[in-house]
Amino acid sequence: MGGQPAGDIDFDQHNFALWEKRVDALLVLTSGKGYFTVDGLRRVLEDMGEEAFETMTYYERWVQSVNQNMLEAGAYSLEELSTKMAEVTARGETYGDCAGGGE
């Protein structure tokens, strides 16, 4: 996107949420263990198309990319993921409710 027209810089800063830090940690750890490279991360981000950059937040794109790379690396199956996501979602209403099982 370098050189493309764009609006003003927004200087607001949000505090990184715990789930965002965890996505970051999962990327650092899984790529550090050789499951994929930063190029693999980029490939999935590029494949999302420009719209994803308008509609999703930074770590929303990242979690999708890390997940896609881990699926491709065979770390777990799509079925295991969907079963686990359904189980997580059924735990409650909020991130705080649902995130407890991993800690």
């Binding site: 996107m1 050189g3 770590y59 991130y95």
Partner: protein
């Protein structure tokens, strides 16, 4: 971090069971992407690929890193010409000397002077010298900064409050996944008597990205 989340009777007072307010992300409805993070994390632990401790430690290490780390490196370079030469020659090796690690990334350090002003961007995404500065600020990741700084750097710098004379050449450096830049800002006037610790306090994050100068002494 405590995660006793069974105490649903108190959820309307927005305090966790330990009596602390939840972060905003904790009390909004769970998003699909948050569910994906939880599911992925738990699966990776169940599969023995990661441990909970590793994940917790990585998040904690991330929280500990801050621009104060980069400021120590810059302050050392200001007071020690030999260190400065090593830093400019091989950034990764020179920060290792101070106990910081570039990991697999090549760290390139660029010196700002009255003649040349360097500014860093990652047009691809958000590559940033996190090991020295912590996580990047939101604006660094935004389209506005990434698109425009490569085309009209002087205009973008002026939005940060930095107006450079026409005699200063501006160079924009685009980071890559394998190479990160740290800017060595110019040492301000009137700091000859200051020690390394006092100098480090003048070195703000933005000056190490190249969108600001180091602060003037009080």
């Amino acid at each position: 971090m405590p995660h006793d989340h069974h105490d649903h009777g108190h959820e309307h007072d927005h305090l966790s069971p330990s009596g602390h307010p939840y972060q905003p992300d904790q009390d909004h409805p769970l998003t699909k992407w948050q569910a994906m993070e939880i599911a992925m994390r738990e699966l990776l632990v169940e599969k023995g690929i990661l441990t909970r401790e590793e994940i917790t430690q990585t998040v904690e290490a991330m929280d500990r890193r801050s621009p104060a780390d980069g400021a120590k490196v810059v302050a050392r370079a200001w007071v020690d010409p030999d260190y400065k030469a090593r830093l400019l020659a091989d950034g990764s090796a020179a920060i290792n000397e101070m106990g910081f690690h570039a990991d697999a990334m090549k760290l390139v350090v660029l010196e700002n002077t009255a003649d040349v002003h360097n500014v860093v961007v990652c047009t691809l995404c958000s590559c940033y010298p996190r090991n020295l500065l912590g996580l990047p600020p939101d604006w660094y990741k935004q389209r506005a900064y990434r698109s425009r700084v490569v085309k009209t750097p002087r205009a973008v710098l002026s939005e940060f409050g930095l107006t450079l004379p026409d005699t200063t050449q501006v160079r924009v450096h685009d980071s890559t996944a394998d190479m990160r830049y740290l800017i060595l800002p110019a040492r301000p006037e009137g700091t000859a008597d200051m020690d390394e610790t006092a100098l480090a306090a003048l070195i703000n994050r933005d000056s190490m990205i190249g969108v600001a100068q180091a602060s003037a002494p009080e």
